[in-house]
């Protein structure tokens, strides 16, 4: 099997995650989908590092994880405060862009 399949898998997961972001209303699930997309990227990075035979890809993936962690912390905090204020975690409720 050609390890490039890992890339295909990553692409697939990424697409699924993106679709999820678009179709789900629950902010938490949306967030999960974002995580999924990040992971897909990580997989791709790892596969790349294997492709190139050096560790940079893995390091990027590592950084990605860290950033993801930070992002999750903040994001969830936002969700919590949002839930507190309007007793719902639906992103559609926040349709304030339309006046």
């Amino acid at each position: 099997m050609n390890p490039v399949n890992y890339l295909y898998l990553a692409a697939l997961l990424f697409a699924i995650g993106a679709t999820g972001v678009l179709i789900r209303r629950n902010a938490i699930v949306v967030f999960m989908c974002i995580e999924l997309m990040l992971n897909a990227c990580n997989l791709a990075f790892v596969a790349f590092s294997r492709l190139h035979g050096n560790l940079d890809g893995q390091i990027i993936a590592f950084f990605t994880m860290v950033v993801a962690a930070a992002e999750v912390v903040v994001g969830l905090a936002i969700i919590v405060s949002l839930f507190r204020s309007r007793h719902s975690a639906s992103v559609d409720d926040a349709s304030l862009m339309k006046l």
């Binding site: 678009l22 926040a94 862009m97």
Partner: protein, 648 residues
Amino acid sequence: MENLIALLVAAPLLGAAVLLCGGRRLDRVGHWLGTLLAAASFVVGAVLFADMLGRGAEERTLSQHLFSWIPVEGFQADVAFQLDQLSMTFVLLITGVGTLIHIYSIGYMEHDERRRRFFGYLNLFLAAMLILVLADNYLLLYVGWEGVGLASYLLIGFWQHKPSAATAAKKAFLVNRVGDMGLSIAIMLMFTTFGTFAFGPVLEATGETSEGKLTAIGLMLLLAACGKSAQVPLQSWLGDAMEGPTPVSALIHAATMVTAGVYLIVRSGAIFNGAPDAQLVVTVVGAVTLLFGAIVGCAKDDIKKALAGSTMSQIGYMILAAGLGPIGYVFAIMHLVTHGFFKAGLFLGAGSVMHGMNDEVDMRKYGGLRKYMPVTFVTFGLGYLAIIGFPGLSGFFSKDKIIEAAFAKGGAEGWILGSVALLGAAITAFYMTRVMIMTFFGEERWRHRATASPDQPSAEPAAETHGEHDEPHPHESPRSMTIPMIVLAFGSVFAGGFFSIGDRFMHWLEPVTRHDHGHSPLSAATVTGATMVVLIIGVALAYVQYGRRPVPVTAPRGSLLTRAARRDLLQDDFNHVVLVRGGEHLTRSLVYVDHTLVDGVVNGTAASVGGLSGRLRKMQNGYARSYAVSMFGGVAVLIAATLLMRAV
């Protein structure tokens, strides 16, 4: 001397200006002023005539250049007059008859509170007509041409409160406009052909251009003549024009204006000589019209309309003659002048009759008037004899000559035209006798008559003023009216003889119009004999028809031809159906098109833009997710683009 020419025009023009702008304070003297100026113009004309006689045949032409009218690059129109024998003939006719009719109108229009304006219009007409005949180029002639059209419009519609009069006036102007269109196109053709439209250069240069061009110009001129002289197919306005006051009918629609067409053709002789086809068409138009008018004249019960028909037919003679070329020009003008006399006389007579008969115009309600209005009877009678061409009177000479000339054209055409002219003479005799008998002889049908039949609206408003519909009391008209009639009667008796003896008139006009005696297949005597025969036949028929048996007061149904003739041979109906109705439909549909189509396209665009923006607005629904979709889609598109780029 030349400087007097302008005076000819200036006098009546001044009169028109003063009378029309003067306001009410001139009401009392207005008619005298108008008549005076007309007379002044006549005097000037007479002086110039005397002077002209004093000079040799060839240097009789005077010309006066007033000012340059429209000076534009390559286009020089001047206000300049030219007085030659032809113009002089007209000047005398116009101012002479004009003056007489001014005098006549003083009495005739006595009861009209707008008499001042009437005289103003009359003067305006004189001025325009003089410009027409004095102009030395076609553009200035066009000015007079339209000027007389205006004057005729104003005078036909003088009693504007009558819708019929207003309509008739409008009709006259419009039909004339169609003719004017021809004249203006002719002028344009001259300009593009000769680079000028002054009589002199154009008529000299006719040799240098193609016959086709000349034919085109000639036909356009003929169109103009048809409009102004009420020739088929543009004759329909003349009958209605009788709505105007009778003096107007006498002056404009019998003696002068309607003959302008003849003047135009004779004046443009050189062009027609170069275009035989055009000449042929002219003769045909003339022949057709002289029959047409005569037939119509036979059927009309309205005395003025009957006379109008006869005018049409007589002008048909003139046009026919003018179409014959140098053979006929002189006789055309001669007949024009004599016709000016007797037809004006007849109209004035008719006016006088109506004046005495509470403005009744229906001849069936006349009869036996000779003992009540003797002067009118005599003058009218002389006019009658003149027009039917009774030997020795004017009509005899002029018409006879035209018939001869028609035969002299030679060939089949000559025969056809000649016999048509003869036939016309017979019919003329018939309908004029009819008019004569119905009016002055027979039982007095105006007695014990109930009321004016509604289908014959009385032609003049006086009917409303003193229109008690009991028995009229026919009486002779006042002096101011009878004198002009007498003068004209003299003219209609002696003019013809005076002109023809020793071919005076021919020699007088020859320098301008040229003349050649064609080779007539028939001797003059034969023609005259034939004319006499048909004349007698016509008179006899009329006598049998109307003299022997009583004339019914209400018109009998009559034969198909009669009924058609009563309706101007259905020519009006044709116009109405085709032109009027069609035009109305056309305009209405165009208005609709303009509103829906031309305007609709624009409004439609606006509406669609508005709708589109509304639809676009809906896309901004404020949901983060839908924005995200578009973002994502955009990214996808970008990737696709890059891939394509790399693929390519």
